[in-house]
């Protein structure tokens, strides 16, 4: 188990490095939410989900849908590290004609459905879950939502329906970093009491530290065991997690790091990795 955790932590740091690098290269994009969702995405792609990068269309794969499409750098990094496409594609992010678009697109192997316009993803995932039920398949669907995103009414239409249809093959994750473009969620449009909301809509709710690999893995295990209702994991996260000057800073919701900021960020991430390695040796 320890080895698995260590492996996942290493992967997460690798993904964070790639996020910082590709966004600096692209000159635009969304680092804050990409970094807050990194550990969630790492757990899904490197431990939780059943998938075959060499055959992205394998019909029995678990599905992942990034409803908060603007955080695709984290997804792109994970997909490339899994082997869905060569890493060099990351350096063309957001360029004309690139396979990696500014928001997820089906031209990218591993992306099931394009996203970007917020609030639709849970419905898309619900559609996939219905398809799984119709076909009596055991694959699961994971849908990652932003906290600001769930202010969209469409999300709650999907929440109501997923419970109604008893979609226990559907697992939602809310990346609860408390920031949206205009500021803190508490100030712009308060989401609380968030647990009660999901519970009253008929969902099983699990809360965890969205940067604690052990807790995340346990939450996904719990979701898998719940029958006859969908599960949502409310992952408490830090916007910009892993880069000190991006943490809790709303400006980095949608601003790419400069070349200089990138170098500082990469140094910090190296430090984090070193500390983790020392911990492992003790």
């Amino acid at each position: 188990m320890d080895r698995k955790i260590k492996f996942l932590k290493k992967k997460a740091t690798e993904i964070r490095r790639l996020i910082v690098q590709m966004l600096a290269k692209a000159g635009s994009g969304h680092p804050g939410g990409s970094l807050s969702s990194t550990d969630i995405i790492t757990c899904l792609f490197f431990a939780v989900m059943r998938h075959t990068p060499s055959d992205p269309q394998w019909s029995d794969r678990d599905r992942f849908h990034l409803s908060k499409g603007h955080c695709c750098p984290a997804l792109y990094a994970a997909l490339s590290l899994c082997g869905y496409f060569p890493k060099k594609e990351l350096w063309n992010l957001r360029q004309l004609g690139a396979m990696l678009q500014g928001h997820p697109d089906r031209r990218t192997p591993g992306v099931e459905v394009a996203s970007g316009s917020l609030g639709q993803g849970l419905s898309v995932a619900l559609g996939m879950a219905l398809a799984g039920k119709v076909d009596k398949k055991d694959w699961r669907i994971y849908c990652l939502m932003g906290d600001g995103e769930i202010q969209e009414g469409n999300i709650w239409e999907a929440a109501m329906a997923a419970a109604h249809f008893k979609l226990d093959n559907l697992c939602g994750v809310v990346d609860y970093n408390h920031f949206q473009i205009d500021g803190r969620t508490e100030e712009i449009m308060n989401l609380e009491p968030l647990v009660n909301k999901w519970e009253s809509f008929g969902w099983h709710v699990v809360q965890c530290d969205g940067h604690n690999i052990e807790e995340l893995l346990e939450a996904f295990d719990e979701a898998k065991a719940i029958k006859f209702k969908p599960t949502v994991i409310i992952a408490h996260t830090v916007k910009g997690k892993g880069v000190s000057f991006m943490e809790h800073v709303v400006d980095f919701h949608g601003r790419a790091p400069t070349a200089q900021e990138k170098d500082i960020a990469l140094k910090e991430l190296d430090e984090i990795e070193k500390i983790e390695e020392t911990k492992g040796k003790k």
């Binding site: 089906r106 996203s115 639709q120 419905s123 898309v124 799984g132 469409n154 999907a158």
Partner: protein, 311 residues
């Protein structure tokens, strides 16, 4: 003359498709009795999903189902299948080029007594600018059936528009092909291009015109997108005067589509019969058709004036 509800035939056609193809699933948003998707639901309850009054969820879920290989028919009233769900239709369905067939009923002024809030008169305009989406407005119940089959057989998203009222069966129809209109009657003095219920009104108008000693070529332009450019240019060259008839705003529908083709390829005198940039109101379908000048007599009157003005 036979007169049928297009939606009755739609419901029955769905059952046929459901029987021959397990990939077919049907969605509705609490209007399954009216749209007739309930017929499919009774036959194949495991492949029918009622989303309640939540059209946005239905459309985005349709995309999710299609991403897993399903051929999805999603139905509600035209008002709620377009204006309410534009973003879901554009981004989740059309951008992904998914196999989602939006089949809407209760389009146009002939919704009648329910009034303006339920009279979708802008639906074609809203959808026409979305790439990859095909738009079909069948002229009767049997052409609706053809359109449903064509949509089923053709990869990608469709919008098929049906009305609420019974619709007379057009006897002189030709073989249906997506994107290909055809001449249904040959005439001398102008050409009328129409779709949907305006097909029958146009043919009736032509009878009135013939009594007055003039005649129209009448064209069935069931596919609004992709529009049949060749046919439009061909007709324009032959007739020099074109009148477009549709149960829709004159902004952004068939009339606009025809104008766009002619302005670029064959500038031609053109007139229109449609809703002149106004909202509808309550009334019986017949009263409303007369009031807004959409019925055969209104078409004939406008055609006469058009011919006189430019003779």
């Amino acid at each position: 003359m036979e007169s049928l509800y297009a939606r009755d035939i739609y419901g029955k056609t769905l059952i046929e498709l459901g029987k021959k193809d397990l990939r077919v699933v049907v969605l509705d948003a609490d209007l399954s009795g009216s749209t007739r998707t309930a017929l499919f639901g009774r036959e194949y309850p495991d492949r029918f999903f009622n989303f309640g009054v939540a059209e946005q969820n239905m459309m985005a879920a349709a995309a999710g189902l299609a991403s897993c290989g399903k051929i999805v028919f999603a139905s509600t009233f035209a008002m709620f299948a377009t204006a309410r769900v534009m973003d879901q239709v554009r981004n989740s369905i059309c951008y992904n080029n998914f196999n989602v067939k939006i089949v809407a009923s209760h389009a146009g002024i002939t919704v009648g007594e329910d009034g303006s809030s339920h009279q979708a008169l802008e639906d074609i305009n809203l959808l026409r600018a979305i790439p990859q989406l095909r738009i079909i407005v069948p002229c009767d119940a049997w052409e609706t059936r053809d359109a449903i089959f064509a949509a089923y057989e053709t990869e990608g998203p469709f919008y098929i528009r049906m009305g609420r009222a019974k619709i007379p069966t057009i006897e002189q129809k030709k073989k249906f092909k997506v994107g290909k209109g055809y001449v249904i009657e040959e005439g001398e003095d102008l050409a009328i291009i129409a779709c949907g219920i305006m097909m029958n009104e146009s043919l009736e108008a032509n009878k009135l015109l013939k009594k007055e000693g003039v005649s129209a070529t009448v064209v069935n332009m069931h596919t609004i997108k992709p529009i049949d450019e060749d046919l439009i240019v061909d007709i324009a060259k032959k007739h020099k005067k074109i009148m477009v008839c549709e149960e829709h705003q004159v902004i952004g529908g068939l009339y606009s589509a025809v104008c766009e083709v002619l302005a670029r390829k064959c500038p031609t005198l053109i007139e229109r019969v449609g809703i002149e940039d106004s909202f509808g109101q309550s009334g019986s379908p017949k009263e409303l058709m007369d009031f807004y000048g959409l019925s055969s007599s209104g078409i004939a009157k406008k055609a006469q004036k058009f011919i006189r003005q430019h003779s």
